[in-house]
Amino acid sequence: MTQVIDKPVGQQETRPMTMAAALTDAMDVALTRDPKVIMYGEDVGRLGGVYRITTGLQAKHGEARVFDSPLSEAAIMGTAIGAAAVGMRPVVEFQFGGFMMPAFDHIFSHVSRYRYRSRGRWKTPLVVRFPVGGGLGLLEQHADSPEAYLMHTPGIKIIYPSNPYDAKGLLLAAIESDDPVFCFETIKLYRDPKLRQDVPTGYYTVPLGKARIAREGTDVTIIAYGGMVQPAEAAAEAAAQANVSCEVIDLRSIVPLDIDTIINSVQKTGRAIVVHEAVRTGGVGAEIAALIQEKAFYSLEAPIERVTSFDTMPSPFNALNHFSRPEAHHIAEAIKKVLSA
C-alpha cells in the first residue's frame, strides 16, 4: 500500500453520509490512495451498480480501473484471484449475495486456499462486495444472507457493517487486508435516513475483528450484525421500559470474530441471544452459541436463544415475510424466554 501520512480521525473533516455514500467514499479514497486498486462487476461502470454504490468512480478514476465485466460471477471471482495474486487489489461486486453461488467454486476451492496451496508464494488481497438481506419485497435471490457458507470456509474474512462510519472504515481496512475479505452490505441500510451520520471524508479504518457495543446493559446480551442491529436495539429499548437491561453487541466482522467482547458481556449478563436474518440451521448463531458454551458455560443462567429466519428460502411471498424475517418483537420474545429460564 502506498505510504500516506494521515491525519488522526478526530481532526478530519466530516460530511453527513448514508451507508451507501460512505461505501462509495471508501472506494473513492482507496482508488485515490493506491493505484493497485481496481474495481469491476456487472453494471458498476457507467450505471454505478444496481444500488449505485460505485456511482461516479468510473468517471473520476477511468475505465481502466473501474469497469463493467461480462455477466459471470465465476469470472469476476476467478479473475480477481489471479489479478490479486500478481499484485493488484481488486474490489469486485456481485449484484446480490444470492448471485454469489456461480462463483462459489472460486470461493470454496480457490480463494480460500490459494495461499495455503502455494505455501505462501501467492496471496490474494481482494475484496468482494455485495448487497444482502430482505424485507423489501424484491424477487427471489435478491434477499439472501449467505454468510454461513463463507464462515464455514476457512481462509477468508467477512465484514458486515451496520452503519455508515463502520461501513467506510471496515471497507478501507478490508482493501488493505492481505487476506481476501467479503463485504456484506445490507440493502435495507444503504439509504436508511435514520443511519445518516457525520463520517470523516478522508482515510481512516475500523479494525477487522473488533465488535462494537451498541448499547450497554447488565441482564441480557444480544449479539447481532448488519441489518439486525436496529431491531436488536429496538428490542433492548422496549425491554428497558420493563427495567430489563440489555447489552447489544454489533459484531461488525464475522471473521475474525471478536470473541473477547462476546464472552466479557455474557460473563456479565449470564444470558445470550444471537440474532441473524439468515436461516437458522448451521448458521452463524450456532457457531456463536457453541463458542459461548465452550468459553463461558459456567456464567450462563439460561440456554442461549437464536432469533433467525425459518429454514427455508427467503420468501418471495411479500405479504408473509414479516413472520419469518426477525423483527424487534421476535427478539423481545427471546428476551422474555432467557429471563424466565
Partner: protein, 369 residues
C-alpha cells in the same frame, strides 16, 4: 502452410458474413415471399403478440399503482417470445427465465397466474398441473442447464417432446450456459436454446459480453446448428423455431437460435435506462422496428386485417385481461403456512418446530388485529 490449411478446413468461424434471417422487412413487406406461413397462422401470431403487449403495458400500470411487485418487462420482444413458444406442442416443455412472461402465456400460463406470480402470491408460483412449464429462474443461466436435463429426461423416456429455454445475450457469458448447451449437444438431447439478444444486460451493452460478433457462432463449437434471426420478425422467428424444435423432436439434437431484438423497456420496473443509454436509440427501435407493427402492416397488405378487426381483437384482449385481473384480485390472501410448505416432502423436526412458531406468530398477529 498447406498442412495448417487442412487443419482449419471447414471452419467458418468469423469468416462468413452473416445476415440475420428475415421473411418480413421492418416495413412489413416480404423479402422471402416463398416462406410466408399459412395466413391463418400469421393472424394467430399477430393476435397473440398483441395480447402479450397489452399484458406488458397493463403490468406497468399495475406496478405504478402498487398492484404488482417488481416486474421484468418484455415489451418489444413479443415476436421473439410468442412466435417461438407458439411452435410448441402441449407436451413440450418451456424452461423460462424472468423475462419470459410472453413465452409462458403463449404456452398456456393463465394471465391470472402471471398477475399473482408478479404479486409475490404463492398461488402464482404454483404452475398448473396441465402445463409443462418449469419454474421461472432468476439466477441466470440455471434454466439452460435444467433444459438440458429436461431434454435428457424426455429422451430417456421417449416422450417425443422438446425442451425450449431462453436466455438473454448477457446470460451467455455465464459458464453454465456452455455447460448446459454442451451437455445437450453431446447427448443429442431434444433441446432448443434461444438467445434473445436484446442489446442490453441492465446497463451493459452487448459488446462488453464477448468479442465475437454473433453469439450463435458458439454453436459450431458444440457441433450443433446455430441460427441468426431477426428477432423482431415474427415469421422468421416462427419458421426457425419450428425447424429447430422439429429437428430436436426427431432426434437430430439441439440448436442455438440467436434472435436479434431490443429491450425497449427498462430491465425491470426498478430500472431507469436514461442513466445509461440514449432515448434516441430506443425510439428508433420503437418507431421503425416494432415487431407487432411489422406483422400488422403485412396483414394489411395481404388484405387480412382492417380497423374493424383490430377493434374487435383489442376488445377481446381487454375482456380476457380484465377477467383475469378480477380473478387475481379475488384470490384469497396468502396462507402464512406457504412460507414453510414445500420446503421438504418429509419435513425435518426443525421445520415442524418452526411451523409451530409460525402458527403462534400468526395467531398473535390475528389477536392483535
Amino acid at each position: 502452410m498447406s498442412e495448417s490449411s487442412d487443419i482449419f478446413a471447414g471452419s467458418t468461424l468469423q469468416t462468413a458474413d452473416l445476415k440475420p434471417f428475415q421473411i418480413l422487412a421492418p416495413d412489413g413487406r416480404p423479402v422471402r415471399e416463398e416462406l410466408i406461413p399459412d395466413l391463418e397462422i400469421v393472424e394467430e401470431l399477430y393476435r397473440r403478440m398483441a395480447r402479450a403487449r397489452y399484458l406488458d403495458d397493463k403490468f406497468m400500470v399495475l406496478y405504478k399503482s402498487q398492484r404488482l411487485g417488481n416486474y421484468a418487462q418484455f415489451g418489444g420482444q413479443e415476436a421473439s417470445q410468442v412466435a417461438s413458444a407458439f411452435v410448441l406442442k402441449a407436451k413440450d416443455y418451456v424452461c423460462p427465465m424472468y423475462r419470459n412472461t410472453a413465452a409462458m402465456i403463449t404456452h398456456g400460463w393463465p394471465i391470472e397466474k402471471a398477475i399473482l406470480y408478479w404479486r409475490g402470491h404463492p398461488d402464482g408460483w404454483r404452475i398448473p398441473d396441465d402445463l409443462n412449464i418449469m419454474p421461472i429462474i432468476i439466477s441466470i443461466p440455471g434454466q439452460i442447464v435444467h433444459a438440458a436435463g429436461v431434454a435428457l429426461g424426455i429422451q430417456a423416456q421417449n416422450l417425443g417432446a422438446v425442451a425450449l429455454s431462453y436466455i438473454g445475450e448477457g446470460g451467455t457469458s455465464q459458464g453454465d450456459f456452455h455447460a448446459g448447451v454442451n451437455f445437450a449437444a453431446a447427448r443429442k438431447a431434444p433441446a432448443v436454446f434461444i438467445i434473445e439478444n436484446n442489446g442490453w444486460a441492465i446497463s451493459v451493452p452487448r459488446k462488453v459480453q464477448s468479442g465475437v460478433d454473433y453469439l450463435m457462432r458458439r454453436a459450431e463449437g458444440y457441433g450443433i446448428p446455430g441460427y441468426l434471426v431477426d428477432g423482431n420478425d415474427a415469421l422468421a422467428v416462427y419458421t426457425t423455431a419450428k425447424k429447430a424444435v422439429e429437428d430436436a423432436r426427431v432426434g437430430n439434437g439441439p440448436s442455438i437460435i440467436e434472435q436479434l431484438t431490443y429491450r425497449v423497456r427498462p430491465h425491470t420496473t426498478g430500472d431507469d435506462p436514461k442513466a445509461y443509454r440514449t432515448e434516441d436509440e430506443t425510439n428508433e427501435w420503437i418507431a421503425n422496428r416494432d415487431p407487432i407493427k411489422r406483422l400488422k402492416l403485412f396483414l394489411e397488405y395481404e388484405k387480412r386485417w382492417n380497423d374493424d378487426r383490430e377493434v374487435a381483437m383489442q376488445a377481446e384482449i381487454e375482456t380476457e385481461f380484465t377477467a383475469a385481473l378480477e380473478a387475481a384480485d379475488h384470490a384469497p390472501a396468502p396462507d402464512p403456512m406457504a412460507l414453510l410448505d414445500y420446503t421438504m416432502i418429509e419435513p425435518t423436526w426443525q421445520l415442524e418446530e418452526q411451523r409451530a412458531t409460525l402458527q403462534a406468530r400468526v395467531a398473535a398477529e390475528g389477536g392483535a388485529a
